[in-house]
Symmetry: C2
Subunit: 330 residues, 2 copies
């Protein structure tokens, strides 16, 4: 059993309170006394008991982080890192759980966070989506998702801006016949990115409304299945072949690499490919390396933790920009 302040006080032949003062950096302690006590603390390896502090102060300093469905999609790790870093910088404890929404893991995490009297809870989704989180006594921050009724603050990637940015880059580099193989329409990012792509193209003088294709068969949640084979076969059979394929996500891009190879086209030579995610390690392992818009997950994690600590207006929505990561596919 680890030592207590009482034990430290006993050894230092001083009172409990003085030890407490040293630990809490109270300036009104004699320098000599302080160093004597600090020596004993170091010697014993004493750490203040967090449970007792929570009791005494009536606040937990704990922020919960629920990472929903990480198992199926590892992007959330950067969300977690961002939040964790801020928590430490700001002297908070973050309690992290990997859960599956609606499954027992979710209920277990909730009750554990309640038992620890968490001050706020960050709920992180694996992809930009709408969720339905009832208001509770504990404030929730939605990360990479947003509430149906806008009852909770939300941190989101600015998918519209991401698509606009990469489309601008595409046209700057001289591509004139891009197609966008978009995500399923039941995914929020799909609409936003479609809009960004079309407006970006319009700004460059191209009507791209016919150049967007839904290339995912499966619904959200189910294992991803792509409809790229048929779409690409169609697109690449005519004379007006695309000079660039923009994919809704890196794993789709990986699939597109294979399908293009099957059709006899070389990525980076016969046709360019770009995408969204910068998914490690896929984007770097593809040959040629995949040029892709990285989503601002780390910064989103940081923003969420800051909101969780400072409090936020209920309907606050923060959208963060992404970053273009250049490799050789474009």
């Amino acid at each position: 059993m680890l030592a207590t302040q009482r034990e430290v006080a006993r050894r230092a032949k001083t009172s409990l309170k003085t030890v407490s003062r040293v630990i809490n950096n109270d300036p009104l302690v004699n320098a000599e006394t302080r160093s004597r006590i600090e020596a004993i603390i170091a010697e014993l390896g004493y750490e203040p008991n967090q449970a007792a502090r929570m009791m005494r102060s009536q606040k937990s300093n704990i922020i919960g982080f629920l990472a929903d469905g990480v198992a199926t999609y590892p992007s959330s790790i950067e969300l977690v890192r961002g939040a964790q870093d801020v928590a430490w910088e700001r002297g908070k404890q973050m309690m992290l759980f990997n859960i599956e929404r609606g499954r027992p893991s979710s209920a277990m995490a909730d009750s554990q966070l309640a038992a620890f009297r968490a001050e706020a809870i960050i709920y992180a989704a694996t992809f930009h989506q709408q969720v339905d989180i009832e208001p509770t006594s504990v404030p929730h921050i939605l990360l990479n998702c947003f509430d149906r009724g806008g009852r909770h603050p939300a941190i989101l990637p600015d998918d519209y801006q991401l698509a606009l940015d990469i489309t601008r880059i595409i046209f700057e580099r001289g591509y004139r016949r891009p197609v966008f193989l978009n995500l399923n329409t039941d995914i929020v990012a799909s609409h936003l990115r479609g809009k960004g792509f079309i407006e970006g193209a319009a700004a460059a003088g191209l009507d791209a409304s016919g150049r967007v294709h839904i290339a995912v068969k499966s619904a959200a949640g189910a294992p991803t299945e792509f409809a790229t084979r048929r779409i690409l076969a169609d697109l690449f059979s005519g004379l007006d072949r695309p000079d660039l394929v923009l994919c809704g996500q890196d794993i789709m891009a990986m699939n597109v690499y294979f399908e293009l190879a099957r059709l006899g086209f070389k990525v980076g030579k016969d046709v360019a490919v770009a995408s969204f995610d910068n998914l490690d390690p896929i984007a770097g392992l593809l040959q040629p390396g995949l040029s892709t818009m990285e989503l601002p997950y780390y910064e989103m994690g940081r923003a969420a933790m800051n909101l969780a600590i400072d409090g936020a207006r209920h309907n606050q929505v923060l959208r963060l920009k992404g970053k273009f990561v250049e490799r050789n596919s474009l």
Copy 2:
């Protein structure tokens, strides 16, 4: 602020003690009283204050889980899931941290776990490796890694057996000219798998000692860089071409797919490929799908948490078998 037992008692017009009895499942409470109190508990959303419980019981019920370097390799998620599931099944709280060994995140996690008086700590590495963890007052369980001096119990994948198993399958299917593109020699799994491969081949009557090649350039820790291009060019230039390439890991297999395509060989037709990891989503996205040995991460996580809760002998080492996941590359 969440309710207390006192508040529950007030509303139920009963005594503190009876509420306490209900919460701690003391049998000597009238069934009717019990359900009345339980109703109020549910209504208030009361959860016993964990801090107070820890104070009172002098035990934290907390097991720490340090996931080292998750950011660079997402396999650990299954380790975490396994451990988390067992913790919940057995009424323990698991505190999870993503850390980088030697970085501030590591020290922060350590002191937070000390502050919460964690009863044991599971230290999980991203790949099978040797580490150097000093003994402390809190028992450590090493997961996917082992201590230099055998000072801590360890849970490991049985890499020798994994390689033996897949080699057996390879020969059962009639392949006779397999090569093994192994991991770097500074990686523990490399030796064990090499041994498994050679002995498996020997059992089938083949001396495979010349058929193992180190195909990773970079040292452990650095971003992976493969030496597959030259090796494959050599191997596939002669007449006695391999009929199967066994890769040390799935991301190497992905690289090998590209390199074989570059050389003009079709995986699954001209040459088979197999591997280790079953890394989601890569193994499923490759075309053809990658047949690979899945590492028993979930079960390893479970075993580690069980050891953490039950205690373990210092030099205990547990090796778990993997599972062959069949797709179409073999």
